[in-house]
Subunit: 221 residues, 2 copies
Amino acid sequence: RIEFENICKTYSLGKVLIPALKNINLNITEGEFVAISGPSGSGKTTLLNLIGLIDKPTSGTIRFEENVITYNGQSKLHRLRQAKIGFIFQSFNLIPVLNAFENVEYPLLLTKMSAQQRKKRVEEMLDEVGILSMRTHKPRELSGGQRQRVAIARALVHQPKIVLADEPSANLDLQTAQDILQLMAKLNQEENVSFIFSTHDPQIVKIAKRVVSIRDGKLVN
Amino acid sequence: RIEFENICKTYSLGKVLIPALKNINLNITEGEFVAISGPSGSGKTTLLNLIGLIDKPTSGTIRFEENVITYNGQSKLHRLRQAKIGFIFQSFNLIPVLNAFENVEYPLLLTKMSAQQRKKRVEEMLDEVGILSMRTHKPRELSGGQRQRVAIARALVHQPKIVLADEPSANLDLQTAQDILQLMAKLNQEENVSFIFSTHDPQIVKIAKRVVSIRDGKLVN
Ligand SMILES: Nc1ncnc2c1ncn2[C@@H]1O[C@H](COP(=O)(O)OP(=O)(O)OP(=O)(O)O)[C@@H](O)[C@H]1O
Ligand SMILES: Nc1ncnc2c1ncn2[C@@H]1O[C@H](COP(=O)(O)OP(=O)(O)OP(=O)(O)O)[C@@H](O)[C@H]1O
Ligand SMILES: [Mg+2]
Ligand SMILES: [Mg+2]
């Protein structure tokens, strides 16, 4: 369960202040399948970064499963993220010197799995998103949609409770996007994984159980 | 006019050969508005890179306005690209240390325009794509869709005859995507600028005058 109370996020560029999020009040419960929809520049990525504990708000309170997040215990926050959250970034953020297999394996290196167990899990995820044959390619040796799928596999590989997906289908053709969405809907229904998407894709908005609309940093009805 | 005769492109990864394009025969005439459509990994980016003279084929012949492209005169090729072609890359390829204004100004630095003329043109383009107020932001201080629009403005700023656009609407909301498409359709109709898009977006495929379908590196009907 995630609670946002009066959350504001303001960026500063030199002397200029940019209020990207204004007074956000939002609750997300376990097992939700939420689409965050809004125009370019409206604050979707900023909101996802706060939910994913990647960034901190300028003011307001965030509660994660009843506990207030304080942002001073960096390692505690880090461990919470690694254990519970999977994040698919809008620009993928793959590690250029690692190939697809190694990029997806990365979150598992901090678990107690053996190399053999990791290999089985990584290959299973790569296969789920249709790029197993590409596992030795580095990101620059992959197509845009293949990189996107490496990012998706990496976000799901350690079986997180919450998956935050920033434009997960932007570079995917219709068929591949539908396959990925079905995989996510299955994880949501069978394993109660919460999914929070930022998206412009009407397909995702349509299959979401709930739609949160944002415009100019504010939630709208 | 661009002619592709028996074009093949094979990547090599260590000892493995990856035939990304197989025997492509394609003619594109002046003033066309072509959508290249196909699944993820089918060869769209590879094809666009060859049309834009950014990469060279493994075999086959490319003719640009009747002249065979030979790929040994690097500076001649470079000048042809700069004069005639605008390219919107799938991952934007913005220069991180330059702000939005400077990124869009970059192609004009090699022209005979004065600083004042460049400023007028750059601000006109930034305004056309709706991000004039963001001109001092660096790429990391912009949203995904705002970065995409910087890439679009940069591709159009020097008034190229041919614009190659790799997924130009992937990170744009519906309204912004439509505005950009209208701008491109206007340049096509009023200035006879050729547009070749690679896209998964059904909106773009719908307004294209011609659709080229690709699957597994081959053109299909
Ligand atoms: N540098 C490279 N080395 C090896 N293989 C490559 C390289 N670049 C691309 N490929 C492979 O060539 C094929 C075609 O890639 P391309 O990027 O043209 O596809 P695409 O149609 O643009 O896909 P998408 O819709 O996902 O962007 C893919 O299977 C890809 O993995
Ligand atoms: N580091 C930063 N510094 C300054 N301004 C920023 C920074 N990051 C984002 N912004 C601004 O904050 C606003 C919200 O950005 P955000 O990335 O959340 O939008 P978005 O809804 O994800 O957009 P898109 O749909 O284009 O991805 C935008 O106007 C953007 O320019
Ligand atoms: Mg975004
Ligand atoms: Mg591509």
